[in-house]
């Protein structure tokens, strides 16, 4: 046990980013034991899986609930393997291990894909493009001059825009989620094309009040889900919206 703990202790350094989740642990065990994933020795894997789990607990590593779910799944598969079913039933029934084999196979496939992707030459790591000169009249501003905008500053800016409208426009306010949704996709398209846009530009001068509110809600929704970043230029005070 002591020896085992030491072996794992050597592993401990990587623990944080080696085992993100139960699937990662399974993959690790499969590789370590050089197992054919279509013929997993379920008793062995379950035992080792639980050993790791206990060890992580002992190290005070917060074991997520997902790990326990997987442990239960493994234990369940193990028990089903042990159950002596009727002969014909056994032939009909699927191998209980398929319950983890399928997701495991798919995960391994995507791990390969991730590895392949990581092996490609990456921009700003392996390959570089010409740096933009300072005199370039590019819409991409130096981000160091930009500050993050708080929700309240955003509301202030929004109020300024809405004040330019006469009060009678307030009538007939019917907002539906569909228009917010489609506005989000419009804004996403604009940002896809241009990279950034000023807050004001998003509010059409001709737009009615409900349209303005839909736009604002769309912006808030996108900020919340971190699809966009909203920055304010330190000196000019112009608020600009950036793609993710």
């Amino acid at each position: 046990m002591m020896e085992q703990a030491q072996n794992m202790g050597a592993y401990h350094v990587d623990l944080g980013h080696t085992f993100e989740g139960p699937m990662d642990l399974l993959v690790h065990l499969v590789k370590k034991n050089e197992i054919d994933i279509y013929d997993i020795p379920i008793a062995l894997i379950t035992r080792q899986y639980l050993e790791y789990l206990n060890f992580m607990k002992a190290l005070n590593i917060d074991v997520a609930g997902d790990f326990l779910v997987m442990a239960a799944t493994l234990a369940h598969i193990k028990s089903r393997m042990l159950l002596p079913g009727k002969q014909e039933e056994q032939e009909e029934a699927e191998d209980p291990r398929m319950e983890i084999v399928r997701p495991l196979a798919e995960y391994l496939q995507l791990k390969d894909a991730a590895q392949d992707l990581a092996g490609r030459p990456q921009l700003d790591r392996d390959v570089f493009v010409r740096a933009q000169s300072d005199g370039d009249a590019s819409p991409r501003e130096g981000e160091q001059d930009l500050m993050q905008v708080s929700l309240f500053e955003l509301i202030d800016a929004f109020q300024k825009i809405i004040k330019q409208k006469s009060p009678k426009d307030f009538l007939n306010l019917t907002l539906d989620t569909i228009s917010v949704k489609s506005r989000i996709s419009q804004i996403a398209d604009i940002l896809e094309k241009r990279g950034s846009i000023t807050f004001e530009e998003l509010f059409d001068k001709e737009a009615g009040k409900s349209e303005i509110i839909v736009t604002f809600l769309a912006i808030l929704e996108m900020v919340k889900s971190q699809v966009i970043r909203i920055m304010q230029h330190a000196s000019s005070g112009i608020i600009r919206i950036f793609n993710g």
């Binding site: 894909a113 390959v127 989620t177």
Partner: protein, 190 residues
């Protein structure tokens, strides 16, 4: 005719003109973009100019090459010189963590994909890695699925193609191809 003359000049110098555009452009230039700048209908001529340029930079072993990326063309430095450029830029390359890379691969291959699908595949919460990828502009929200809670649907961006030097999404090897490449695994360690 003067118009003829200027068009003659354009055609005579087409390769060099295209090269000059590529030199100044800060994003990959598409053939359509070049066509509209030059007001030139002849797509084939531009294609030829780009092909010749690509070959020239390749055979002359320049410090940079003409990369076909994200639907366009862009000059990029050769990967083997990266070390010195990093030295000049004095910045550490921002590396994506393995979980972020996996999440990105899942989005790339399974898009349009829900966060719950990604988490189901990886068996772990992906909120943090998704946020990182969104911040880096590698993925984007394509919309919301008509399901309870209106979950967001993710896809990759143009930036993703640029960063990973992909012409387009079909430039990625298929999962089947990857599997064939990895056929020896997991016995390769024996």
């Amino acid at each position: 005719m003067p118009a003829q003359g200027s068009s003659g000049f354009l055609m005579d110098n087409l390769k060099a003109i295209v090269e000059s555009l590529l030199f100044v452009a800060d994003t990959p230039l598409t053939i359509d973009k070049i066509r509209s700048i030059l007001k030139l209908k002849d797509r084939k001529a531009i294609e030829n100019a780009l092909t010749t340029l690509t070959e020239e930079y390749e055979t002359q072993k320049r410090g940079f090459f003409l990369s076909k990326v994200s639907g366009g063309y862009q000059f990029r430095t050769r990967p083997e010189f990266a070390e010195w450029i990093r030295q000049m830029k004095r910045h550490k390359p921002v590396r994506l963590s393995r979980p972020a890379m996996e999440t990105l691969a899942i989005v790339a291959y399974k898009q349009p994909v829900l966060r719950s699908d990604i988490e189901h595949l990886r068996g772990v919460d992906c909120g943090g890695t998704l946020r990182t990828l969104l911040e880096r502009g590698l993925i984007r929200v394509l919309g919301r699925r008509d399901l309870p809670g209106r979950p967001m649907v993710y896809g990759t961006t143009k930036r993703f193609l640029e960063v990973f030097e992909l012409k387009d999404l079909t430039d990625l090897p298929t999962l089947k191809e990857l599997q064939d490449m990895q056929q020896s695994w997991p016995n390769d360690s024996t």
